[in-house]
């Protein structure tokens, strides 16, 4: 019964959520919102498990003096510090400390991580655009045209280059993109069917 009851719930909920898309009636909308509310409630409980996992892993690192263990102290200090300043210290979420930690530590660090993307794009492009085969050469030429399209110093070549770049983006590129999207759509429906019918149940854990 440990497997049958969850599978039955998945079957009923799966069929309901699929049919709900085609039923605009207020009852259908109500049940849909109700299901989403459940998702939020489960998410909140799961977050507690997640935070516990984070604390446990960090604590173990400190206790075992694993490689770079002092970083685990900073991670835990960040977690508890933000909880303390956000909940109790001089005005909670509006407090000076909480807002300044967020604005002047959290946001700049995130922006730095995101900015690294520019360098990684350059190194990845270097590998991708090495003309080692005919296909790689075609890729290189296509990319050159699309990049040159935004170059303001092309003179009389500017317009034909822009047209060629638009054609590359709107015809072969878009066609390939749509083919992938169609395949993804079918794959999604097939996976959903396998889950609803109980054929794919790897997510359920042990009997």
């Amino acid at each position: 019964m440990r497997k049958e009851i969850p599978l039955f719930i998945v079957l009923v909920c799966g069929i309901f959520m699929a049919l709900q898309f085609f039923v605009p009636h207020s009852w259908s909308q109500f049940l849909y919102r109700y299901a989403l509310d459940w998702l939020i409630v489960i998410g909140i409980f799961a977050l507690a498990l997640g935070i516990w996992s984070f604390i446990k892993v960090s604590y173990d690192k400190i206790q075992r003096r694993s490689e770079n263990w002092p970083y685990a102290i900073i991670a835990l200090a960040g977690l508890f510090g933000m909880i303390f300043f956000g909940l109790w210290f001089m005005g909670g979420l509006e407090s000076y400390m909480y807002r300044h930690f967020f604005s002047f530590i959290m946001i700049p660090i995130q922006a730095t991580m995101f900015a690294l993307l520019a360098f990684f794009i350059a190194s990845a492009a270097y590998r991708a655009f090495r003309a080692r085969s005919i296909l790689a050469t075609v890729l290189l030429l296509g990319a050159l045209v699309v990049m040159l399209r935004f170059n303001p110093f092309l003179g009389p070549l500017g317009e034909p280059m822009a047209k060629l770049a638009d054609w590359i983006l709107n015809v072969p590129n878009l066609a390939a993109k749509r083919a992938i999207i169609m395949g993804i759509g079918l794959g999604m429906v097939a996976t959903a069917l396998k889950v609803i019918l109980g054929i794919e149940r790897g997510y359920m854990g042990r009997d």
Partner: protein, 405 residues
């Protein structure tokens, strides 16, 4: 002290202002406010189709003074009343040249925009000039907003889903009867065994990243299944597995999946709960943590399977720098090129969903892959039919596939 330059500037500006005043003003010529524009005609109000019964669609023919006549109409105001005599309350506006307005509301009785269904309503439309003069139409109605049990506009999707479901069930039933189903090999999937073997030989761990998806994303669900297969092999080869998670629900399910795999491999004692752990729900903090793990632990193999966004290249490039074999797969079309460039093998789009069937070689899962192939053939036939119909101007064929609302 006004310099000569400033004086010239003032003179030029004054000249420009005088020239501007001399231009004819079309609104002023029509003397708005004195004569209201002619009202719109043929006003109708009908229940909006395919909805939860909280809207009515109002249509009209343009006022003779909208785009023609005296051209004084700048917008239409739509009024609603519960009797033909009123009082009428303004519900919204539509710009000039518009011929339709959908009056929508909510079902919450405490909302100021509450829209009662099964109640008679009358509508009037006023053509409004720039000066605010209104030419009011006659009342149209009564009309009630009613809710529907079936969305007719989504019939093509419904038919497509039914057809695909029937195909899938057919091929699954064939697979149950032990029919031999050939599936073309996928390099990325075949490399999984090799990658796990490499990790074992090198004595280094395998890093499995599920991306930023939630447990409700199909890509994440597919990733759980692949994780189960990978974890089973990892347990058999007695190597170690690291699964840092972005979502706490995903972490809980992934822990259970890996635990099951270790039990199935006959090595429950080798399972470490801390190998599947939660990191953070902040995108770039997650990237920083996973990149740090890559550079410290130097995993032999990195698997990126699930839903990925801007972090895809940050992760994959760091993995490449660390010298790991990398296998990736996502259904986010925009991220596929990044993975193709930075990883050794990439599962493109639907291949991610097919991976679990390839790894398991279970006939029931293979049946659904066969259905996908036939569905793709059907889509190609429909696309060709659509192209032919468009060439010959048979628009009704194209309309058959149109999804509205």
């Amino acid at each position: 002290m006004i310099t000569r330059k400033t004086a010239w500037l003032i003179v030029v500006m004054m000249l420009m202002a005088v020239v501007g005043w001399a231009q004819p003003n079309p609104v002023a010529e029509e003397a708005p406010g004195v004569t209201p524009p002619a009202p719109p005609t043929a006003v109708t109000a009908t229940d909006s189709p395919d909805d939860a019964g909280r809207s009515i669609t109002v249509r009209w023919q343009l006022s003779p003074d909208d785009g023609g006549g005296r051209s004084t109409v700048i917008q239409y105001k739509i009024f609603r009343g519960e009797t033909a005599e009123g009082p009428f309350v303004e519900r919204g506006v539509a710009l000039s040249l518009a011929k339709i307005y959908v009056d929508r509301g909510t079902e919450a009785t405490n909302d100021p925009n509450f829209f009662p269904n099964k109640t008679d309503f009358y509508y009037k439309v006023a053509a409004v000039s720039a000066a605010g003069a209104e030419g009011m139409s006659a009342a149209a109605g009564p009309t009630q907003a009613t809710e529907q049990w079936y969305n007719i506009g989504r019939t093509p999707t419904f038919v497509a889903v039914l057809t695909f479901t029937a195909l899938t069930l057919y091929f699954i039933s064939r697979a149950r009867k032990k029919a031999d189903l050939y599936i073309r090999p996928l390099a990325g999937i075949e490399a999984v065994d090799e990658a796990i073997g490499r990790a074992t030989e090198m004595g280094r761990p395998i890093l499995y990243v599920m991306g930023l998806g939630t447990a409700a994303d199909i890509a994440t669900i597919a990733s759980f299944t692949i994780l189960g297969r990978v974890a089973k092999k990892v347990a058999e080869y007695q190597t170690s597995l690291i699964v840092p998670c972005y979502d706490p629900i995903v972490m809980t399910v992934a822990q259970e999946t890996v635990k099951t795999a270790y039990y199935d491999a006959g090595r429950p004692d080798a399972f470490k709960e801390d190998s599947v752990y939660f990191v953070t729900q902040s995108q770039f903090a997650y990237v920083a943590a996973v990149n740090g793990t890559m550079l410290r632990e130097l995993p032999a193999t990195n698997l990126y399977l699930g839903k990925f966004y801007a972090e895809s290249l940050l992760l994959a490039e760091t993995g490449a720098l660390a010298g790991s074999i990398q296998i990736s797969g996502t259904d986010e079309v925009a991220q596929i090129p990044f993975f193709v460039v930075a990883c050794d093998y990439t599962l493109i789009g639907e291949e991610l969903y097919a991976a679990s069937a390839y790894l398991g070689r279970e006939p029931l899962l293979m049946g659904s892959l066969k259905a996908q192939d036939y569905a793709k053939a059907l889509i190609i036939v429909c696309a060709l039919a659509g192209i032919t119909a468009s060439i010959f101007g048979w628009t009704w064929i194209v309309e058959l596939f149109r999804v509205t609302n």
